[in-house]
Amino acid sequence: MTFKKYIFSLTIFAFLLSGCVNTPEIIVKTGSGEQIITAKTGKPFTISLEAQLSTGYSWKLQELPASIKIVKESVLDEKKNVNITGGYEIQEFVFKPAEKGDFTLTFNYAQHWKKKPEFEKTNAIKVKVE
């Protein structure tokens, strides 16, 4: 529950930041719909997505635009006080845009190790690079 509150607060915080000061970070929760973020050329920005890696599912970027590079992809380390497995985690993707323009980053949530993975969820994030 604390973790969810933490995620929710982070989301609100990120939303406010994205609207006011063009923060490079946005956290997208499951089912939160289409997101729009604004980024600056040459400045990295982060997209964090909630995932349950222990199910075999994970987020994967469908296609990377030529003018955007992926800098880092990781799973957020989380300090836990209790033993728990199977819970939600944050998958972090750090990008660095090279050119101005409007782009869409599409993430698919699936068991990508399957030959024909079925997407459990899809998140399309519009990025406006200034």
Binding site: E73, G86, Y88, E89, Q91, W113, K114
Partner: protein, 409 residues
């Protein structure tokens, strides 16, 4: 000896013949026969004593024929010959009374000797028979004693064996309350490779789907494997029932589709046991507990390999696998882990601490050549190496929270 007997026989036959002839002629010529005639006749006949049996027979036949021919009757009556002693007729001399006594004494002595000899022989024979009887009796008694002893020994042995069996059973029962694998079937931890993943030592790899119920699947998989190892019976337990019903010893929910911990499940199974897949099939989402009735598939005991639930050493892990069978444990899953196909997974992902894990798995074996544990996952048999993965010792916090369980018999 034979010759003497034959001679005696001939003499005796001759004597009879003489008597017969004498009598015949006495009858025929009783009126005119004189002593001289008889003696003369005797002398003549005496000369003929040496005749053969056939001759004697022939003579007798002739006499009979002669009698018939003359139509004479054979009668015996007192005649002149009666006046004489046989010895006078035959010329033999009867023994004197002293001689007779001596002979009688000799005969008696001989008879006495013979009797004594016979008696002695009889006594000896009796003694021999008695000894034989005693010997046989002794033998029989000995045999009987031997058989009795043997029977007693056998009974004692059987009783001892039964007691030993009972003691062993009790010990085994007691011992099996502390382990799943019988001592004699326990693999050596010095083996470079060992795994409970054979056809008769493992159950199928399940698929948890999109629900974060790895903890429930691990609980069920560990129980199923160890139940099979201990009781030889394949089970398919209900992960849904675990998901919906399991609470730990403090009454706190063991987990949901948003995560959980198998420790709470083992607490629950110690009290309530587990239901079967048939009774409560998997739906892949958290629901209401349909039944919390006690079942026979219970956990006798469970515990962490390390008291603090920390990552055990390879030796500790091997000992636990050898003694308890499959071990519940955790690992940190990353996209690289998800992408595993074969070989040894050695990502050694960055972790914040020993408890930085996110996935419950089942450790079923080791391979020192690979320096890895064999891990059974719950993503179906199409993932990884037929649902399994080799994780290098120490990689991705493999083994954190490693726990053993002892299943019911």
């Amino acid at each position: 000896m034979k010759k003497t007997v034959t001679t005696k026989f001939k003499a005796f036959t001759g004597l009879i013949l003489i008597l017969v002839l004498t009598l015949t002629s006495s009858t025929v010529n009783a009126q005119k026969t004189t002593r001289e005639d008889i003696l003369k006749k005797f002398k003549q006949d005496k000369q003929r004593i040496g005749r053969t049996d056939d001759e004697i027979k022939q003579t007798m036949n002739d006499v009979v024929a002669d009698l018939k021919k003359k139509n004479k009757k054979f009668t015996v009556e007192l005649n002149e010959m009666m006046k004489y002693k046989i010895s006078e007729i035959t010329g033999t001399k009867p023994p004197s009374p002293d001689e007779l006594r001596r002979l009688e004494d000799e005969k008696r002595k001989k008879e006495e000797i013979a009797r004594k000899k016979a008696e002695r022989q009889r006594q000896e024979e009796l003694k021999r028979l008695e000894e034989e009887r005693k010997r046989r009796e002794a033998e029989i008694n000995q045999e009987s004693d031997r058989k009795k002893q043997e029977e007693l020994r056998r009974q004692e042995e059987e009783r001892r064996k039964q007691e030993e069996r009972k003691r062993n059973d009790d010990l085994n029962r007691a011992d099996m309350n502390d382990r799943n694998i019988p001592t004699d079937l326990m693999p050596s931890i010095t083996l470079p490779f060992f795994a409970w993943n054979g056809a008769k030592t493992s159950t199928i790899v399940q698929h948890q789907g999109v629900c974060g119920s790895c903890w429930a699947f691990t609980s069920a998989a560990v129980y199923e494997t160890n139940y099979l190892l201990k009781n030889g019976e394949t089970l398919d337990l209900s992960e849904q029932a675990i998901l919906d019903c399991a609470v730990d010893k403090n009454g706190k929910d063991a987990g949901s589709c948003e995560g959980g911990w198998y420790g709470g499940v083992f607490d629950y199974m110690t009290v309530k046991g587990a239901r079967t897949e048939k009774e409560d099939p998997y739906k892949g989402k958290t629901g209401f507990c349909s039944s919390s009735a006690k079942t026979k598939y219970s956990v006798v005991k469970w515990g962490y390999i390390r008291r603090d639930a920390g990552i055990p050493s390879v030796k500790e892990m091997k000992e636990a696998i050898a003694k308890y069978g499959a071990i519940a444990a955790t690992v940190k899953v990353t996209p690289a882990f998800q992408a595993y196909k074969s070989g040894v997974f050695d990502e050694f992902a960055s972790v914040s601490g020993a408890n930085d894990v996110n996935h419950a798995i089942t450790i079923v074996g080791w391979d020192d050549n690979k320096k890895a544990y064999l891990v059974k996952n719950s993503w179906g048999p199409n993932w990884g190496d037929k649902g399994y993965i080799w994780v290098e010792y120490g990689s991705n916090n493999i083994g954190y929270g490693a726990a053993w369980i002892i299943v019911s018999q």
